[in-house]
Amino acid sequence: MSLPETNMRSLLEISDISFGYDKGSKPVLEHLDLDVRRGECIVIKGPSGGGKSTLLRLVCRLNIPLSGTILFKGKNIADIAPPALRSAVSYVSQIPQMTDASVRESLLLPFSFETGKGKPAPSDKQLEQMLDDFYLHGTNLDHSALKLSVGQRQRLSIMRSILTGPEMLLLDEPTSALDTESANMVFSIIERLNTEEGKTLMIVTHSDFQPSVPKARNFILRNGTFEQA
């Protein structure tokens, strides 16, 4: 489902967001504001436990804020049907998750859901071409996705997330479980998604990754608030 765009300036507007897991304990995020414009690449760094992943989870409503609002295309995300929101704003977790299925079935999984059924599923040839683009040359579509290495699964999970054409991609520590070579491949894919395909990205990382893209903005999230990068 395509959501109507009411505000051309900001794709995502986070206003005065606070979040805590338990009432009474110190909030994980406090009065956070952030505007993300279409085509930007937002990189959020900071120490572990600073609330980086939580922020991404709030944007796709895997967690619900205590206060504040998040607007996507000018509409409060609380008023958007969750499956529609999550197929428009796709979140890729730190540890790539695959079910016990072939590479093809894993990639086409989103097309089996109600939100993906109306969308044209890519052919084997298109998938093979994309696998090449994601440094997964020679990966057999019939092989078990669970037998791939963590690095390969991470690239596969990013590829799976973009197949249904989300407008924004949330990448949670996409290279934390990877060796340097695999991490570099993922960084290269991220840069390409932003520059060549114009995908709006929000990346959370505690690595030194600095994407060489023109529309990158950096933030440091520490103790639940943004610091000047």
């Binding site: 969750p82 979140y91 859901f113 109600e114």
Partner: protein
Amino acid sequence: MDRIIDISLPQLLLAFILILTAQGASFVYRLGLNRDIWIGTIRTVSQLFLMGYALTFIFGARNLWLTLGIFVVMVFSAIFIIRGRVKEKQIPYEIPTFLTMLSSYFLTALFVSWVVIGTTPWWEPRYFIPTAGMVIGNSMSALAISIERLFSQMRQQRDVVEMKLCLGANYKEASLDIFKGAVKAGMIPSINAMMGVGLVFIPGMMSGQILAGTDPLIAIRYQIVVMFMLVGSTAISTITVMHIIRRRCFGQSEELILTQ
């Protein structure tokens, strides 16, 4: 032989020898079961005597409200037993489970005693209460298995469920495999019972009827009805409860709220 042989008190005491055998075995092999066997024996005798007198009274009274009251107490006891088996603290499942059990078991017992057997009135306690008892006893175990399975799998596969949500699945699609697994786990024992009945074992109810002098060909008809009833009631109650509890594992925004 069509007359029931009454078991006199001395004969009952004679059967007690079997318990003494078990006690002896526990003593000789130091199994540490002597205390449990005593408690079990006392509870069996007292509970069954109490039940015997209660049923004699209820069957004699033939009162609609008393019959329904007994039914509610039976379901209420079943939910306490399920609570003892399912160690879930976060998601409240007891009230929907109780209400589902109450309605589905009532309809099943009603269907079997009134429509299939054809008792008049429909609540004839001699038929309604034993029928309900069998439904409750069997489905209670199935429900406990299914509920436990749903919660444990939802926690174990939390990351996979969230992955599917993030790919645009609704909460039903994201937890479909877990839902199916939980329902199947609850239903398999009663389906397996249908496979083995008459070959591997003679069910308690049928044995009881035959011992009481009923023609085996009539006893098997009752048993067939009972087997079908148990599978049907297990399916209805398990699927309904799984639907309700699964929804409770997710929040308003279909986010998984079940924590580790």
